[in-house]
Subunit: 198 residues, 2 copies
Amino acid sequence: MYSEVMTTSERLIESTRELLWERGFTGTSPKAILQRAGVGQGSMYHHFAGKSDLALAAIRRTAQTMRATAETALSGEGGAYDRVRAYLLRERDVLRGCPVGRLTMDPDVIADPALRQPVFETLDWLRGRIAGILREGLEQGEFDAELDPDGTAAAVVATVQGGYVLARAAESPAPFDTAVHGVLALLTARTTRTPHGA
Amino acid sequence: MYSEVMTTSERLIESTRELLWERGFTGTSPKAILQRAGVGQGSMYHHFAGKSDLALAAIRRTAQTMRATAETALSGEGGAYDRVRAYLLRERDVLRGCPVGRLTMDPDVIADPALRQPVFETLDWLRGRIAGILREGLEQGEFDAELDPDGTAAAVVATVQGGYVLARAAESPAPFDTAVHGVLALLTARTTRTPHGA
DNA sequence: GTCTATATGATGATAGAC
DNA sequence: GTCTATCATCATATAGAC
C-alpha cells in the first residue's frame, strides 16, 4: 500500500494521517490504522505509546505540510492582494475538507492540550501570516486606510474553513468556490488600484 | 435531568441533540444517550429504529431551531446591512460550535443521505436568505452595484462556520469575533451610506 | 522489531419478562 | 411502554513467542 522503502513507523504515521483526515480521531480505530498500514498490532505499540501518541505524530506532520502548502501560495509573485488571492484560489480537494481544521470538531482532540496545540499553532500562524501580508500591502498603499488587516485575515481563513463545511453539506465544491470568490470580491473593494481578476 | 412533563421520546431526542452537538454522531453511543435521558435501553428501541433513526429526529429538530434563530436576526429592524450585521453579531456560545455545521465533519452523517439532507437544507436556506436580503439592499441602492449577493452571502455564512473552527482551535471566542467583524468591515466598503457601527 | 494470542470494557442491537 | 438480561462485535491495550 505504501512505498517499499517506507519504514514501519512511517507507514503507521501515513495511514493515521489519512484516517484522521477521513474520519477524525474518535472515528479512527487502531485496528483500521494497522490494516491500512499493513502491519501487525505489536509494531504500533513498539513504536508509539498508543493511539494518542501516534495521532500526535500524524497531526504534527499534517500541520507542517499544510503550513508549507499555504506558504507556497502566500510567498508567491505579486502584491499583497495577489498573494492572498493565490492562497484563496489554490487548488484544493474541497470535499475532503481541511485535515487540520476538521480536528477542531473532535472533542477528544480539543480536550488534549498536546493534540490541540499543533492545530491551534497552524491556524494561528496562517492568520498572522496573512495579516502581515495585508499590513505590508497597506503600507505600500495597495489598500485604502480603512482595511483592518487582522479582521480581514481572520475572515479569509474562516471563509476557507467554513467553505469546506458548506461544500461537504452540499456534497459539491460549488459553495466553497462561491464563498472564496465572495470574500475576494469584498477585498477588492478595499484596493486602491484595479486588481487582477476584478 | 429534564422536565417532569417531558415524554420519554422527547427526553431521548433532547439528550441526543446535546450529545450530537458535543461529540458528533460517531462519538455518541446509545448508552450515553440513554444515561443522559435517564431511560432504559428498551425505551429507545421501542420509539426509534436505532441510533441513526433517533439521530435523524434530533438533527431535524436542531436544524429547525437554528433556522428559527437565524430568521429572528435576519428579519429584524433596519436595512439589509443592519440585518446581516445582526445575524453576524448575535450572541453565540462560540466554543460549542454550530450544532448543524459540525455534523459535516462526521463521515457517517455525510454518507447517509437522510442525515445529510437537513444539514444541507439548513445551510443552503441560510445562504439563500442572506443573498436575498443583500439583493434587496442592492435594489434599494444600499450597496454599490459591484456587490455580489451570492458570493457575499456564502462568505458571510462561511465566515461564521469557519470562525467556530478558529475559536475551538484557540479555545477562545476571540478569533471568531475578529473574523466576523472583519467580514462585516469588508461589507461596509460596499455600502453607499455610512452604516451603523462603521 | 514484528507477530499472534489474549483480556477488558464499550458498542449497537435483540429477547423477553413485567 | 419500560425494564433488565443477553449477545456478537469492536476498541484499546498487554503479554509473550519468534
